[in-house]
């Protein structure tokens, strides 16, 4: 009887032995044949964009005004970049025509030399959230041109030269006398342009090219993040010529200075001391007719966090 009991117990142990009894915490380092991982389903189901909304591959950079002889062209510079956002065309508006979206675009809508608004197309940007497509901003892509008029008696302000556009060797908001085909009458009194008052430039840093400027931002440790230095005049965005980081811990960034439109890409592998944040200071350079060539500083506090367990 006892032998049978002992045999039964031994057999029971042998049959019911669990792999956990021989669990090796270092089995990942080799020695065991791991099962072939099954293809993982996408945890976020694909949401097809509604009709009219498309994925953005060309991102707005700045309004461009170029002049070639008497012809002045109003266009928009873009950069081939996907920021993960979507867009929808709201409507195209002709020269001088009004649109219900006038005043809603963050970059405004310029005027021709005769005061009429330029032609172009309004687009609305969207970001995809769990709840669907959420509109974030409206941008106006100008697309117009005008022939210069001889304005010898009323010379226009100093020419605009957008140096942030390498493909635009010469650009003016209006044809200047020097580029105009009409010679200036000799001996005639010439009205000198009145320098426009320097307008305050409000810098800002955002996480999207068209996002809201932020004073502080929380990021996860080691998560890649893009910060866009931007500048505004009277709530209207103006092009940034260049930017650089002049103070603060830039994390793992490879580039700490670049031209306008390019984001500052980085990640932080270390957390700031408890209760503190990384204080970054961007120096933003702008050069527009209404602001002149100026640099402004934009601070932003970066709080690096990491998922942690709590008991």
């Amino acid at each position: 009887m006892m032998r049978r009991t002992v045999t039964a117990i031994l057999a029971m142990l042998a049959v019911w032995s669990s792999p956990a009894l021989a669990w090796d915490p270092f089995r990942e380092e080799g020695g065991y044949e791991l099962p072939e991982p099954a293809p993982e389903p996408d945890p976020a189901p694909y949401i097809a964009p509604p009709p009219g909304i498309y994925y953005v591959t060309e991102t707005y950079v700045a309004d461009v005004v170029t002049s070639s002889g008497p012809l002045t062209t109003y266009s928009t510079s873009t950069v081939h970049e996907s920021t993960g956002s979507y867009a929808r065309a709201l409507g195209t508006v002709g020269t001088g025509a009004s649109s219900p979206f006038d005043g809603s675009a963050f970059n405004g809508r310029r005027a021709l030399g005769d005061g009429r608004a330029v032609a172009g197309t309004y687009y609305e940007s969207y970001v995809l959230t769990a709840g669907g497509f959420v509109p974030v901003s409206i941008v106006f892509f100008q697309d117009d041109a005008e022939i210069a008029r001889v304005l010898a008696a009323t010379p226009t302000p100093s020419p605009i030269t957008p140096p942030w556009l390498p493909t635009s060797p010469a650009a003016t908001s209006r044809p200047s006398p020097s580029t105009c085909c009409a010679p200036e009458p000799s001996g005639a009194p010439v009205a000198r342009p009145t320098p426009s008052p320097i307008r305050p430039v409000r810098p800002g840093i955002s996480l999207l090219p068209t996002g809201a400027p932020l004073a502080s931002v929380e990021v996860l440790r080691a998560r890649a993040v893009s910060l866009y230095p931007r500048a505004f005049v009277d709530e209207r965005e103006i092009p940034v010529r260049s930017w650089s980081i002049v103070a603060g811990d830039a994390g793992e960034a490879l580039v700490t200075a670049d031209v306008g439109g390019a984001p500052f890409r980085t990640s932080w592998l270390r957390l700031a001391p408890p209760g503190s944040a990384y204080e970054l200071l961007f120096r933003i350079e702008v050069d527009t007719p209404e602001t002149g060539h100026r640099t402004v500083d934009a601070p932003i506090a970066v709080v690096v966090r990491s998922p942690a367990l709590e008991r």
């Binding site: 669990s18 009894l21 996002g211 996860l220 990491s306 942690a308 008991r311």
Partner: protein, 161 residues
């Protein structure tokens, strides 16, 4: 030589009496060790699932406000990864991992501060909490007139800090 034979006999009797007791004790100790290992693996599964869910942030809200906020599907992500992590220990469990994960009490608190509806704890950060009862096979304990399945309570809480 009689005394020797008598001593051998007594040793044989002693062995026959003590061997089952020792074997039962050994089996019980091994089963308890296995239970501890299974408990550790199940808790690690819950911890990892909570961490993964917290790592899933609402990018649109971050771009808008600069503040970390849990994704709307954080609870679903936690439950899904809890099942995935339990799959690695499925041989120890008494039940399908998907069913165990589906029965778990998973809660996401995307906005802080928040109070846990289960424990009343106050969370100062967006938090994911997993509370589950995981049935673990304990066949040896069952053979010893105990429960063949032991319920392991796991509780994992994670937030970005």
């Amino acid at each position: 030589m009689n005394w020797l034979r008598e001593d051998r006999a007594s040793a044989m009797v002693l062995t026959l009496v003590l061997a089952p007791l020792l074997l039962v004790t050994l089996a019980g100790v091994l089963q308890l060790g296995a239970l501890r290992v299974a408990t550790a693996r199940v808790r690690a599964a819950a911890d990892l699932a909570a961490l993964v869910a917290v790592n899933d942030q609402d990018d649109a809200e971050l771009a808008r406000s600069g503040v970390l906020r849990l994704s709307a599907d954080a609870a679903d992500v936690a439950r899904e990864y809890f099942a995935r992590e339990l799959e690695l220990s499925s041989s120890l469990l008494n039940g399908a991992t998907a069913e165990i994960a589906a029965a778990a009490d998973v809660a996401a608190y995307p906005v802080a501060p928040a109070y846990d509806t289960r424990t009343g704890a106050r969370y100062e950060r967006p938090t994911v909490r997993i509370a589950a009862q995981v049935p673990v096979r304990t066949p040896v304990l069952g053979a010893l007139v105990l429960r063949p399945v032991t319920i392991v309570d796991v509780f994992a809480v994670s937030s970005p800090r």
